[in-house]
C-alpha cells in the first residue's frame, strides 16, 4: 500500500463508509416498514394469532422446525404447513406426540389445551398467508 495513504485517511474512509452504508440501510428499512402492511398479513393478526405466536415461542418450536426457512433444520418447514396439511391434521398431530416409533425423530408432548392448539393453528394460518415472494418452491417446504 502506498506510503501517502496515511492511517488517519484509512480511518476516515472507515468511519465515512460505515456511516454511509448504515444510513443507506436505515433508508431501506424505513421504506420496508412503509411497504410491509401490503405484504405481511398483519391485518389478520388477532388475539388468537398473538397467543399462538407466544405458544410457538415458549415451546421453542424453532429449536427443531423452520418457519419461513429460518430455525433448525431437524423437522419440517411450518410456514406453509397450514396449506400442506390443514388444521385438523395439525391439531391431531400435536396431540398425538410423541409417536414413540423406535429410532424415529420424536416430537415432545407439550400438553396444550384444545383452545391453545386452536391458537397455534391460527398463528400458522396467519404465517402461511404472508407474501414470501413465492417461497417455498413447492408445498413440501
Amino acid at each position: 500500500m502506498s506510503a501517502t495513504f496515511t492511517k488517519s485517511m484509512a480511518r476516515n474512509v472507515f468511519y465515512g463508509g460505515g456511516v454511509f452504508f448504515f444510513l443507506l440501510f436505515l433508508a431501506l428499512t424505513f421504506d420496508t416498514m412503509k411497504v410491509l402492511p401490503t405484504r405481511d398479513n398483519s391485518q389478520n393478526i388477532t388475539p388468537a394469532v398473538a397467543h399462538g405466536k407466544k405458544l410457538w415461542e415458549t415451546n421453542n418450536c424453532i429449536g427443531c422446525h423452520t418457519l419461513l426457512g429460518e430455525g433448525a433444520y431437524f423437522a419440517p418447514e411450518l410456514g406453509n404447513v397450514y396449506v400442506r396439511r390443514g388444521p385438523d391434521f395439525i391439531k391431531a398431530w400435536i396431540k398425538g406426540q410423541p409417536t414413540g416409533v423406535p429410532g424415529r425423530r420424536q416430537m415432545p408432548q407439550f400438553n396444550l389445551s384444545d383452545a391453545d392448539i386452536d391458537d397455534v393453528v391460527a398463528f400458522l394460518k396467519y404465517a402461511s398467508e404472508i407474501n414470501t415472494n413465492k417461497w417455498p418452491p413447492n408445498i413440501e417446504g
Partner: protein, 205 residues
C-alpha cells in the same frame, strides 16, 4: 453517444494536469480499491437492469416516459461542470494555490448542491405520485440506482467540504496534496457513474 463523449471528456480532463511521472493513478491506491468496489456494485446493478429490462421491455419503456429527462439532462451538465471545477482545483493546488483550489472546489460543492436539489424535486414528484421501489421492476431500479447515487453525491460533498476547510487552513501545498487528489477521484467517480446512469435509465429505449 452521450455516454461515450462524456467518458472521453472525463478521461481527457483527468489526464491533462494530474499525472506525475512514475505515478499511474492520482490519489491513493487504497481509495482506488474502494472505487473499484463501488464500480463493481454499480456495474452489477447496471447489468441486472439490462437483463431485467430485456424481459420487461414494454413495462420499462412505459415507466421510463414518466421520468423527467430535462432535469436528468440538467443534472448531467451540472455534474460534468462540477468535475471540471474539481480538475481546476487539483491543478491549482499543484501550483500551491490553496485559495484558488478551495474556491474551485467550493464551486463544485455548490453544483453538488444544485444536483441534490433537482434530484429531491424529482424524488418528491415520484413519491407524491405514490411511486415506490415496490411499484414495479423499473421503479425498483430507477429508485435504487438513483438513490444510491444520490447518497454518493452527498458523501462526495462531505468529502469536498472537509478538503475545502483543510485547504483554507493551508493544509495542502504543491508537494503534499494526496487528500485533494483522493477526494477529486471520488468526485469524478460519482460524476462518471451518473454519466452512465442517466442514459441507461432515462434515455435508452
Amino acid at each position: 453517444m452521450l455516454t461515450q463523449n462524456a467518458t472521453i471528456n472525463l478521461v481527457e480532463l483527468q489526464q491533462v494536469p494530474i499525472l506525475k511521472e512514475g505515478e499511474n493513478l492520482p490519489g491513493d491506491f487504497a481509495l482506488w480499491i474502494f472505487i473499484f468496489a463501488e464500480m463493481l456494485v454499480f456495474g452489477v446493478l447496471f447489468v441486472a437492469y439490462a437483463f431485467t429490462r430485456a424481459n420487461n421491455v414494454e413495462l420499462f419503456n412505459a415507466s421510463q416516459l414518466t421520468l423527467s429527462r430535462t432535469s436528468g439532462a440538467i443534472n448531467t451538465l451540472v455534474l460534468i461542470t462540477s468535475s471540471y471545477f474539481v480538475v481546476r482545483g487539483v491543478a491549482a493546488i499543484k501550483l500551491g494555490l490553496s485559495k484558488q483550489c478551495a474556491d474551485w472546489l467550493m464551486g463544485a460543492f455548490l453544483l453538488g448542491g444544485v444536483f441534490i436539489s433537482i434530484k429531491i424535486v424529482e424524488f418528491h414528484a415520484k413519491f407524491a405520485a405514490d411511486i415506490s421501489m415496490s411499484t414495479n421492476a423499473f421503479y425498483m431500479f430507477y429508485l435504487s440506482l438513483t438513490f444510491f447515487h444520490f447518497m454518493h453525491v452527498l458523501m462526495g460533498m462531505v468529502i469536498l467540504a472537509s478538503i475545502i476547510v483543510k485547504a483554507r487552513r493551508g493544509a495542502y501545498n504543491a508537494q503534499h496534496h494526496t487528500g485533494v487528489e483522493t477526494g477529486a477521484s471520488f468526485w469524478h467517480m460519482v460524476d462518471f457513474l451518473w454519466i452512465i446512469l442517466f442514459p441507461l435509465i432515462y434515455i435508452i429505449r
